[in-house]
Symmetry: C2
DNA sequence: CTTGACCTTAGATTCAACTCCAAGGTTATA
DNA sequence: TATAACCTTGGAGTTGAATCTAAGGTCAAG
């Protein structure tokens, strides 16, 4: 039996977080002391471990609520239900990663075209790319010539 | 010269969004009509295009403010400043992608171990992984045997 | 009997980037 | 002149996951 502060310290979370989980139904302490203090049992601690593990894997608290409700009543759920939660998450994640990779490629192209030196940004290829409609990026060493050691290899090859 | 609705329609944004950009200093219309309507010039439209392009590449509005203030006063900034903004974003993005890939791997391992069938979740390997402390995932076809066509190749190989 | 560490609650705040609302003013058309 | 389609403003709401605050109750030690 733990009080909130003990459980928090044991699992490296804030007491605020445990109160938040209580309020939102993820983890209600199984009892209260006479004076109203939350008292967490070993089962509660196990449930907290479940929550923290699921969080570490990338589930949202909403997902975790769903998993916990299945967990509490396993025999009335099928593998399909559980795997469904995971697979939806996986698909979201893949979409998110694809989007970020797209951003990354775009930014990488911008970065490669800029010398990054102390020269005036008047002809900076990054700003020019953002000003213009075209998706082509002009390498700076055409418009804005200086020590080629500044440029990354990607861009040097064109100059 | 465009009124807010025209500009919004031309660039497929909501009028609310343009008002938001005005309020937050990203895009202030260069004039107002007598009755107080926002009037956007061609330069304003160009600035909006800059904002939208930067957004599409993955910059936050805060980043964009910074880029715009450089853009407005290019000669007093260096390529290093501009490239700095891009490279910081790139580093953030890489960290984020790495984190999401870690989540993805974890979820993929969970998903692979579960049959996803209509069988009771009582011995579902996903739930078991979340209950247990170990990071190892037991494939279901050891505890919970049924039509092996359910399993993915990753998991079948162990059964 | 008081200090200090702990606990309680409801409710406000944070971040981003909008999005929506109410209540009212303007303008073009029928 | 009325109707609809615009526009204005300030301010509230959204999502997620906390984090923080204020005002107060509890408990063990000295
Ligand atoms: Zn340069
Ligand atoms: Zn540059
Ligand atoms: Zn199964
Ligand atoms: Zn399963």
């Amino acid at each position: 039996m733990y009080r909130i502060g003990e459980l928090a310290q044991r699992y490296q979370v804030k007491t605020d977080t445990l109160r938040f989980y209580d309020k939102h139904g993820l983890l209600k302490p199984s009892s209260r002391s006479e004076s109203g203090y939350r008292i967490y049992s070993e089962d509660d601690a196990q449930r907290l471990r479940f929550i923290l593990r699921a969080k570490a894997i990338g589930f949202s608290l909403t997902d975790i609520s769903e998993l916990l409700s299945i967990e509490l009543d396993k025999s009335n759920w099928a593998c399909a239900d559980v795997k469904g939660v995971v697979d939806i998450k996986l698909a979201d994640l893949e979409a998110k990663i694809a989007e970020l990779n797209y951003f990354k490629t775009s930014l990488q192209r911008l970065s490669d075209a800029c010398c990054g030196g102390p020269e005036s940004a008047e002809h900076c290829s990054i700003l020019e790319a953002l000003e213009s409609n075209s998706s082509a990026i002009k390498c700076e060493n055409q418009t804005h010539r200086h020590d080629p050691s500044h440029y990354t290899k990607n861009c040097q090859s064109k100059g």
